[in-house]
Subunit: 440 residues, 2 copies
Amino acid sequence: MTPLDKLVQFLRIPSVSSDPAHAADVRRAAEWVAAELAVLPRVELIEAPGRHPLVYAESLTAPGQPTLLLYGHYDVQPPDPLELWHSPPFEPVIRDNNIYARGACDDKGQTLILLTAVRQLIERDGHLPCNVKVLIEGEEESGGEHITSYVPAHAPELAADAALICDTEMFAPGLPALCVGLRGIVYGEIHVQGPAQDLHSGVYGGVAPNPLMAAAEILTALKNRDGYITIPGFYDAVRAPSPEESRAWASLPFDEEHYRRTEVGASALTGEPGYSVFARTWARPTLEVHGIRGGFTGEGAKTVIPSTAVAKVSFRLVPDQDPAIVVEQIRTAIAAATPRGVTAEFRLLHGAPAASVDPAHPLIAKAAAALTQAFGRETVYIRSGGSIPIVGLFREALGIPSILMGFGLPDDGLHSPNEKFHLPNFHQGIETVKTFLNSL
Amino acid sequence: MTPLDKLVQFLRIPSVSSDPAHAADVRRAAEWVAAELAVLPRVELIEAPGRHPLVYAESLTAPGQPTLLLYGHYDVQPPDPLELWHSPPFEPVIRDNNIYARGACDDKGQTLILLTAVRQLIERDGHLPCNVKVLIEGEEESGGEHITSYVPAHAPELAADAALICDTEMFAPGLPALCVGLRGIVYGEIHVQGPAQDLHSGVYGGVAPNPLMAAAEILTALKNRDGYITIPGFYDAVRAPSPEESRAWASLPFDEEHYRRTEVGASALTGEPGYSVFARTWARPTLEVHGIRGGFTGEGAKTVIPSTAVAKVSFRLVPDQDPAIVVEQIRTAIAAATPRGVTAEFRLLHGAPAASVDPAHPLIAKAAAALTQAFGRETVYIRSGGSIPIVGLFREALGIPSILMGFGLPDDGLHSPNEKFHLPNFHQGIETVKTFLNSL
């Protein structure tokens, strides 16, 4: 079976970790990963009640050599809205050197780069040139509670010199990048309770509080039209990027108009005036609303004032914002913004601080060299606006930096319909990881 | 079969007119009504392509006597949210003299009052004491397009002295009421288009417009927290109630605190300061949001910036607001409120002006007398905050007033889970209508 055959097989498993209906698929994906890692001396599924399994494997046959902790995730985002997919999300198809499926890039394709590099080195040499510990989780898209409790509790067994994570992007096609900064996140729900039951908007419109309107009022009280978050104290801890980093970003090849048109596809970019696109997506915090539940959203006209509404929101955090403090600020601001006649409560789903890596770390230099060798272009140092909470966890619990060696492309459509992975990047990624491991 | 047996049978038909999946049920309800009316000399289903049938029947055997146009509707609101029903919405159950089912009060129970009164008079006397034309529609809860085009096109055949409509409420248990005013409505959807596809909120949060947030910004720009609609010109045509009417409302038996607690069930009533509950629900226009579609509202955490969002909204109108002018005002205000990076469009689903009836009309006086006789208390004149577009249509197309003789109770839960109808009102309603027809 070629690595591509394996990728197709992996992508066929609908391992949507946030959906209890897919629990069996998530387990199947874990077992698939464990089978791939069976070439290593030790591999096991780590179980916890009510949680998706962790896959752990190790090869500690290179005494005196560095130890890398390889991390990836086998779970995926929900595929909705299904109607926008050109081919079914769990039936991978290849078009123009890209493979289309949910999880193609995020993160099955990139996780399989790690698994394949390790397997090929062992199959060729009988052993690995360094020590590796492999930890692949199944809850990255749904809060990651299992790994969050497992890692601190097993810090000695997981001891390593650095983590190697393939879950980020190249800056542009053919331009390799190491990601040295990630935003953190606070994801939660604003639950608004109004009337005791759904009411007729004719009979009660004018006197009954409307939780949907209240949700809109609360949301617009938290962020203004310039994208500035108006929660008191929210920006107090925000650390600006260093002048060197800002200068490096300014010299990246970037066509804002092309980005607006081809990646965002909107009539204008939004966000805080006076900040560049890189600053707004990498170095400034955000508030986004992901969905508003309540009332009637089907076809036709139902004239209901709903009893409740729920707004699903997330805040992206930057260094040095503390998620726990931010949650308190959010709660205070929601309380202040709640209109008369309703109650509103913020329910935290998960939180993680921003993470950053020192570009001067010696393993980062070797990773950059491996990327440069594989792609034939100088590696650039970028950040990502997304959140990989595990990076902060590895830093805190294990005291190690994470090497974020990403092979995604900016238009891969993570979390969107028609997510894809560029197959040349898949293959060059495998070569890069092998080169990197050999260089240690 | 008793009238109650028939009501149970009628309520078992899930005739949800706004849901295409229930089209066959809607037709079944129409046929059921036609069968009930088969005691009249003429009865037929009136079909139109893509529309639910009208049921028409007539008895013109009382020359020299007045002609009444009896109106009701056999369709119902969708039953969601299903999980809040104590018994299935289309399996009627009787508890404490109330029958619980979707449509129990609105409007199958009240429509059946008309059908039963006519049937009992014919079965007793062999003929009716006045002329009646019966027009029962199946799209009252979904825009009423069929009847809206049918009535003006068949004005001569539908000629009558007044319409008799049982689709409103008594003011309180045991206190009969004639409704002499209804609010109009403009129901539509605000369609917001942002990015070309759903985007990852980590990668693009900070630069991508978010249609859900844009919808919240537009909604809060249209109405302030005091319930005042900030659309320019919106109140220009609003006619205040007459001093007599305001005085009569002030003398109605009404405990605002009890109403807040038992009917609205919220911690506070809302709406424009300086206006009474009656003024706010009967004589002032409103804006309500009924649902916001877009993004992800399931369990768990999906970090999506959706490509589109749709807010379902309605405006209740009062005399003398013109729906066509209001729609233009809404469109202008939405254009002005639309934030950068998105487009927003108001799609009208349906509209109808407010309607009012002259309490001095002689047929109104006879209707009040029939009510007073059946319930043993003086009939009061009230308005309703809801919209019965047919009243305006009968006024415009046929030049006749509508007698709004309602037997619902304020806590009947129209459009809500656990809708009910108070069975004594069902039986007294039948007696009232018979008394009224005999009095003409």
